[in-house]
Structures are given as structure tokens and as C-alpha cells.
């Protein structure tokens, strides 16, 4: 850096350092009080038994041993895996398809974009209420739709077999967010690549397979992993309002179970242990993202940025 080569006098440097600390102080205070502190506290709590009326008691790895025996814990893990792995890849595929369509030079493209994007901005609670009404077994739009197709009506969110797919359908309505990200990514691909390929007679599919997909792969991959991580938490509001984990625990996802243990049963020790398991899983996915990205994702210029 040019400035440091010039070697400022020590007094000025010290002043800059003090100013620097003062600038980050509000953030640092928030970080210590509401992130680092609670992280350590919840780690400690995960080795304790602490419920509403009983005093805190250290039980070592007792909470984790209990987890290993906890059938609902496994149900929650499996449900989360099914819903996240069902919803996120489907969302990305749909988002990519829409983005490819909307990246063409056609009339009314701005209007289409708005239409596909808007549902993703509907406030979560309103979104959940709306879909609860759409999936209403007696008067809902979903069954009106089935009837028009001469299919039998369904119980949707109230059917243990259909509850998960129903939740996934709801999340697909919010595909606009990912679509916009892909659109931005597509617009970053140099036009010249496609022109050159077209001149060489490459088909539409070949151009997609050998130009678009490799050029988009960092964004695609990043959003897959981040999307899965985010889905662990993001579906809380939707599931809490529509099914609360039911019917018969069919939509009991991890975050819902964790919430129930913490804020309905007030088992602060056990829920902290559950929370740390979630944190470790998230860290695992993040590490995976960094490792795998290096291996097979194409970054322009050959090097990772």
C-alpha cells in the first residue's frame, strides 16, 4: 500500500488506530453481546440440564446421549433432509429455467420479471396464511384446480403423505429470488462466447451445456449450498403457521423441533445441544462448499477469485 510506504509518524498512526476501534465499537459490542457471548453460553448450556422449575445441573454429554435415543430428533432430521433437498434443487432448476427464458431479447421482459419475482417478496406470515387458504381441503383453490382436471380432491397440508410436497410447492412460489441471481449471472457471460459458438454451428443445447452451465457453475453451486443452509432456518415461519410440524410429525423439521424444545417446553439445556448440532451441520456444509468449489467449479481465468 502506498500510504504505509510513506511511513506516517507514530502519533498519527496511533490516532488512526484509536479511530478505527471507535468506528467498529458499536458493531463489536453487538458482536460480543449478541453473537460471541451467546454462542459460548449456548455451548455451555448444551452440557447442562436446565428446565423452567429445576435448577441448572451439569450433565456432561447427557444431552447428546439423549439425542441419540430421541426418536423425534431423527424424525426431524429426516424431514429436514427431505424438505430441503426436495425444495432447494427444484427451486434452483426452476429459477435457472426462468432466468434462461427471461434473458432473451423479447418484448415485455421487464413485466415477466416482475411477475415471477414478486411472490418471493410476499411477507412470510401473509404467504403462509394465503397458502393455508389455497390448500384448504373444503374451499381451497388447490382442490378447485384438481376438480377442473377431474382429479379427486386432496387434504394437502392435512395429509401426512402430502404435507411435505405441499410445503415444497409453497416454497417454489418464491423462486423469484434465485431467478434474479441467475439473471445477473447470465448477464455477466460475455456475448462474444455465444456468438462464436453460434457461428461454429453449436446447437442451443450445446451452447447451454458448454458455455452457460460452466460459466454459471460457481453461482449455481454457491446458491445450492447456501440455499440448503438457509432452508434449515428459513422454513420456520411457513411451517410454524401452516402445520406446526403436523400432521403426525410429517413436517416436523429440525428448526420447529428446536423451537418447541426451547420456547414451548423450556428445556434450555437440551435445546442448546440441538442448536449446536445444527451449527455444526451448517459449518460442515460451509466447509464442503469451500472444498468442492475448488475442485470442480469453473471459475473464469482458471483461478479462484
Amino acid at each position: 500500500m502506498a500510504a504505509s510506504v510513506r511511513r506516517r509518524p507514530g502519533r498519527l498512526l496511533r490516532r488512526e488506530a484509536i479511530e478505527g476501534y471507535l468506528c467498529v465499537l458499536p458493531w463489536l459490542l453487538g458482536f460480543v453481546l449478541f453473537t460471541a457471548g451467546p454462542m459460548l453460553a449456548s455451548l455451555a448450556l448444551s452440557f447442562a440440564k436446565w428446565e423452567v422449575l429445576s435448577p441448572l445441573e451439569w450433565i456432561g454429554v447427557g444431552n447428546f446421549a439423549r439425542m441419540a435415543q430421541d426418536e423425534k430428533f431423527y424424525t426431524a432430521l429426516v424431514n429436514t433432509a427431505i424438505i430441503s433437498l426436495g425444495s432447494v434443487p427444484l427451486q434452483l432448476a426452476l429459477a435457472l429455467l426462468l432466468a434462461l427464458g427471461l434473458n432473451q431479447k423479447i418484448r415485455g421482459v421487464a413485466l415477466y420479471r416482475t411477475v415471477y419475482y414478486l411472490p418471493s417478496q410476499v411477507p412470510l406470515v401473509a404467504n403462509a396464511l394465503l397458502w393455508l387458504w389455497i390448500f384448504n381441503p373444503d374451499f381451497g383453490l388447490a382442490n378447485v384446480f384438481l376438480e377442473a382436471l377431474r382429479l379427486p380432491p386432496q387434504q394437502w397440508l392435512w395429509d401426512p403423505n402430502l404435507a411435505k410436497p405441499s410445503i415444497i410447492i409453497i416454497t417454489l412460489w418464491g423462486v423469484g429470488q434465485a431467478m434474479m441471481i441467475f439473471l445477473a449471472g447470465l448477464q455477466g457471460i460475455p456475448e462474444s462466447l455465444f456468438e462464436a459458438a453460434a457461428i461454429d454451428g453449436a446447437t442451443l443445447w450445446a451452447r447451454f451445456r458448454h458455455i452457460t452451465l460452466p460459466m454459471l457453475s460457481p453461482i449455481l453451486f454457491f446458491n445450492l449450498v447456501i440455499g440448503i443452509i438457509a432452508s434449515f432456518q428459513a422454513y420456520f415461519t411457513l411451517v410454524f403457521i401452516t402445520t406446526k410440524g403436523g400432521p403426525a410429525n410429517a413436517t416436523l423439521i429440525y428448526i420447529i423441533y428446536l423451537f418447541q424444545k426451547a420456547f414451548e417446553d423450556f428445556e434450555f439445556g437440551y435445546s442448546s445441544a440441538l442448536a449446536w448440532v445444527l451449527f455444526v451441520v451448517v459449518m460442515g456444509f460451509t466447509a464442503l462448499q469451500f472444498r468442492l468449489a475448488r475442485r470442480w467449479v469453473h471459475y473464469e481465468g482458471g483461478d479462484r477469485p
Binding site: A3, E16, A17, E19, G20, Y21, L22, C23, V24, P26, W27, L28, L29, G30, F31, F34, A36, G37, P38, M39, S42, L45, L98, G101, Q104, I106, V115, Y116, L118, P119, Q121, V122, P123, V125, A126, L129, L130, W133, I134, N136, D138, V144, E147, W173, Q177, M180, I181, A184, G185, A196, I199, F222, Q233, T237, I255, A262, F263, F268, L278, P305
Partner: protein
């Protein structure tokens, strides 16, 4: 490449250009058809929402449903605003959302400025910690945080909703502002320094005025986040007097399980401000998404 292209184009038979154009037009027509079909699917829920909200009580249960309600009534909106404490919920939401957004953006820009422009020992470490915080699920820190706020007797107040975001505005906002501040040329600070300005002066009168786009993006993101927030209000707020819209809307569901026209009117009212914000500040929405989504 262009020479080769020219050579090939010359070699093609005469009708080639017209045929390509025709094929393109057919492609575009097919694309329009697909996009319109998809648009209808995406718009139907909105239509259903508004249509239900305009129905006379009882008419929302008529099968087959009336797409255009007859008669069209605004009763449900009136009821939502008067009978349910909607104005109270709105006021609460605005207090929380605006305070948290304002102080969040302010402190995040200050921290981002510090990380980008000032040199101090431990800067790298602190910034890494800031990025690491992005990974932490909210629920992990929420449990001890709840216990502390409970100990302090602040349950059922706005403090637990407003204080944490007001200190730093969240790791992502700090990151966003730092990245932006790095792109502003350094000579501006140097000139201000020569004129005797201190860091806060530079932040306030040099950097902030140049950072309006990123500030707007941060504000839009924060506003939506707090407007939407459900988990924290659910954990911290109990009584009706302090409920936010998100929480209040859910309690309507408990009280009026079958009054779907009323529920849809209330939902519409909650969606409207976000829609208005979207059409006013569209650019910053999209910027926000692209920045949140592409790279962390």
C-alpha cells in the same frame, strides 16, 4: 472469427436469412406462450388473495368459487382495520422496523468504513470474526439471548427486537458497506485529513454521501427483514399492546379460523407496503438480492 463468419454467410443460399428470422420468431412465440402460462400460475394466488378479501362473509365458502366477487365489498378491510387492532400492530411494527433499520445502517456503515479505510491492530481478525458470524444460525444465539433479556425483565418490550440489530446492523451489512467503501478512491480521505478532519468527519461528510446506493440497498434489506421477522417477536412478545403485524396476523388466524375473507384482507394489508417499497425502490431490491446471492 468474423472473417470466417462472413465466408460462411456468403456460402449460404439466398433464403437463409429469412429462414433464420422466421425460426427466431417461432422461438419467441413459443417462449411468450410458456412465459404467459407460467405468469398465470404465479399470479393466480394473488388473484385468489384479493378476490377472497373482497367477498361478503359467507361467499368465500361458495363452491364453485366466484372469481370476481358479486357483490364486491370492502367490509373486510374496514373490519381488519377497526375491529382487529391493526393500527396498533402497524404502529408497533413501524417503531421496531424503522428504529432497527436506522441504527443498523448507521452502525454498519461506521464499522464497514473502519474495516475498509482505517488501519488498526487486529483489524483482520475482527473482520474474519464478522464474516464467521454470517454462518451462525439465529436460533443458536437466541436461546441464551432470551434468557438474558428475561433476566433483565425486558420480555414484552421492543428492546430485544431493536437493540441487537442496532449494534452493527448484522454482519452482512457491515460486509456490504466495507466492500463498497473499498471502491471509493483514497485521495478524498487524504485531502480531508490534510484539512484536519478526523475519521468520523470523513465517514460522515465524505464517505456516506458517496455511498447512497449501498446505503439504500442496506436499508431496503433491513426494512424487509424486520418487517417480516416472525421468530423474534414470537419469542419476545406476548401481550396484544406490543405485537407486531407478523405476530398479530398469526393471532388473527387463531381468533378467526374460518373468516378467510377477513384473513385475506389483513394479509393484503401486510403485503401492500412491501409492494409499494418494491415499486419505489426496485433497483435496490435487485441489487440487494444479487449481492446477497452471488458471493458471500
Amino acid at each position: 472469427v468474423s472473417q470466417r463468419a462472413a465466408a460462411r454467410a456468403d456460402a449460404r443460399p439466398v433464403g437463409w436469412r429469412a429462414r433464420v428470422r422466421a425460426r427466431e420468431r417461432i422461438g419467441h412465440l413459443a417462449l411468450h406462450a410458456a412465459l404467459i402460462g407460467g405468469s398465470l400460475l404465479f399470479l393466480v394466488p394473488f388473484f385468489w388473495l384479493v378476490s377472497t378479501s373482497l367477498k361478503l362473509t359467507g361467499r368465500e365458502l361458495v363452491m364453485p368459487p366466484q372469481w370476481i366477487p358479486d357483490p364486491l365489498v370492502l367490509d373486510n378491510y374496514q373490519k381488519a382495520v377497526t375491529r382487529l387492532p391493526f393500527p396498533l400492530y402497524l404502529r408497533n411494527t413501524l417503531i421496531v422496523t424503522l428504529t432497527a433499520t436506522f441504527f443498523g445502517v448507521l452502525t454498519a456503515s461506521l464499522a464497514g468504513f473502519g474495516f475498509a479505510r482505517l488501519r488498526f491492530p487486529g483489524r483482520g481478525l475482527l473482520f474474519s470474526l464478522c464474516l464467521a458470524a454470517l454462518m451462525i444460525p439465529t436460533i443458536v444465539t437466541l436461546i441464551p439471548e432470551f434468557l438474558v433479556f428475561k433476566q433483565l425483565g425486558l420480555i414484552d418490550t421492543f428492546w430485544p427486537l431493536v437493540l441487537p440489530p442496532s449494534l452493527g446492523g448484522g454482519a452482512f451489512a457491515v460486509f456490504l458497506f466495507r466492500q463498497y467503501a473499498l471502491t471509493i478512491p483514497n485521495d478524498l480521505d487524504e485531502a480531508a485529513r490534510v484539512d484536519g478532519a478526523d475519521a468520523f468527519r470523513i465517514w460522515w461528510s465524505v464517505i456516506l454521501p458517496l455511498s447512497k446506493p449501498v446505503l439504500a440497498t442496506m436499508a431496503v434489506l433491513a426494512f424487509i427483514q424486520h418487517w417480516n421477522d416472525f421468530l423474534r417477536p414470537l419469542v419476545y412478545l406476548n401481550s396484544i399492546e406490543v405485537r407486531t403485524l407478523a405476530l398479530g396476523l398469526r393471532s388473527f388466524l387463531g381468533e378467526f379460523t374460518t373468516a378467510w375473507n377477513l384473513l385475506m384482507a389483513a394479509s393484503t394489508l401486510m403485503i401492500l407496503p412491501i409492494l409499494v417499497l418494491f415499486f419505489v425502490a426496485q433497483r435496490y431490491f435487485v441489487q440487494g438480492i444479487v449481492m446477497t446471492g452471488i458471493k458471500g
